[in-house]
Amino acid sequence: MSGKPEKAGNSESKKDAVLKYAFYLGCATPLRERAYEISARRVMKELGIKLVEMKGANCCGLPIDAVNHEMTLALSARNLTIAEKKGLDILTLCSGCTGQLMKTNKLLKGNRKSRERVNSYLKTIRAEFQGTIEVKHLLRVLVEDIGFEKLKTYIKRPLNGMKIAAHYGCHLLMPSKYLDFDDFEDPEFLVEFIALLGAEPVRYVDEKQCCGAVIAGVNLDLPLNLIANKFRNVKNAQADAMTTICPSCHLMYDQHQSSAEKMFGETYNMPVLHFTQLLGLAMGIPAEELALDELKVKPEGFLIAMEQTA
């Protein structure tokens, strides 16, 4: 694994260069989890990350992979060609999009047969996959392109004493041969990130448990079982809040939290913050600018506790 924690943020390559990316929004972030987009844009502005909007981009293809894999490859490849034309790497917010775009990118770069097949689809819209760019999730940009050491200098208002549980989700880690980021069995990047904010990362049982979002449209009961398990584990570890790095995971834990509470007759009352909101708070950006009021599980208790430990 290339990104083991001790190495995180040590690559010197891009440190002082201007960070500029083609910004791939995906579907869930702008249409279901606007707070994630708002807080991510706000934080990136502060960090000096320049974004070029990907006009005319489409869904990454992941949501219909089960139906028609070829269309999924065509959709994700089309997005890659939009960024290739701009000569920019893609920056993503959604782990699902990241996984799909990275898989397609690596597959088409390394496999001539697949590339020719997918290019035959793209030919109908006068596009061609060249294989000239990379795809990175914002968190990976923080780890590899900015570096945690430099990121630390932006922390003006450390989240001292706050206990935060990390939810890694699946698609930034697996399948590992395509993602090649952190140890897929025992990842550390998010725990390190929480510590960098000055907060206390709480470890809990089944940290890597999936949120089940992919099958929510087919069978919602199973994901609700999964998220209920997660909340029990996170509460047992006495976390003040949870954090996610993917809009789909967030949708499950925040917007479906009350459904899980109803289903099991339990109360979790666990605020789930996007990692960009936590980062923004730690950078001293006012809560109003980070769309904290758009969370379904209100983080007021968390914010008050934060003030008290300041």
């Binding site: 249409l31 089960a66 139906v67 689809y121 698609h171």
Partner: protein, 196 residues
């Protein structure tokens, strides 16, 4: 131990393995059609190539977060049905749609079987036979309309601009249409009699 799913939330039977039908209160075993060529069809599809390496150890099922909470999803069983050529029983089963696509199985398989991708090949083949959960048809249509998996509401778009976010651009429908035709996506989500 964490509490498992309560009874009402689990599925009644594993419909990949239970072959019985009820008739006048008597359980009858239906004969299964075996198609020895089926595994070759799976092997020939992108992502299905590694089916042949499976030696049925069960690591996929034992590490699967869904199999952990319900008896009705078993990736190993699905692979076994394909290896045996029990095509109809596999493809008509609801349970192949319970894969959460987390890739835990793929990363843990000692034989290098790309379990999730093999499962996806089963799903794609099931769709070709007309077995498709409703939700995928809806998502497919949304993508063809404007490039997004979700419907875009005009109200939300106005609100975006009002709070200072850049407008969401739609993908050209002609592009979506052409890619759908080239990949056969058109036929797969076309409105037919749902066998689901």
């Amino acid at each position: 131990m964490e509490p498992k799913a309560t009874h009402s939330q689990t599925h009644e039977v594993d419909d990949m393995t239970d072959n019985a039908v009820e008739s006048d209160g008597v359980k009858l075993q239906t004969p299964s059609r075996v198609d020895p060529k089926f595994k070759h069809e799976v092997l020939s599809m992108p992502g299905g190539e590694t089916l042949k390496y499976c030696f049925q150890c069960g690591t996929c099922t034992s590490c699967c977060p869904i199999a952990d909470i319900t008896d009705s999803y078993r990736p190993r069983t699905a692979i076994k049905l394909a290896q045996l050529g029990l095509e109809e029983r596999l493809l008509s089963s609801n349970t192949i749609w319970l894969c959460a696509a987390c890739y835990t199985c793929t990363d843990h398989c000692p034989q290098g079987v790309e379990v999730k991708d093999v499962l996806r090949v089963f799903q794609n083949l099931a769709v070709k036979k007309g077995y498709i959960p409703r939700v995928y048809r809806d998502v497919g249509k949304n993508i063809l309309d404007a490039g997004y998996a979700h419907k875009i509401s005009k109200f939300k778009m106005k609100k975006r601009i009002a709070i200072g976010l850049p407008p969401l651009s739609e993908a050209p429908p002609a592009h979506m249409e052409k890619l759908a035709k080239a990949t056969g996506f058109h036929e797969t989500i076309a409105e037919k009699e749902d066998k689901e």
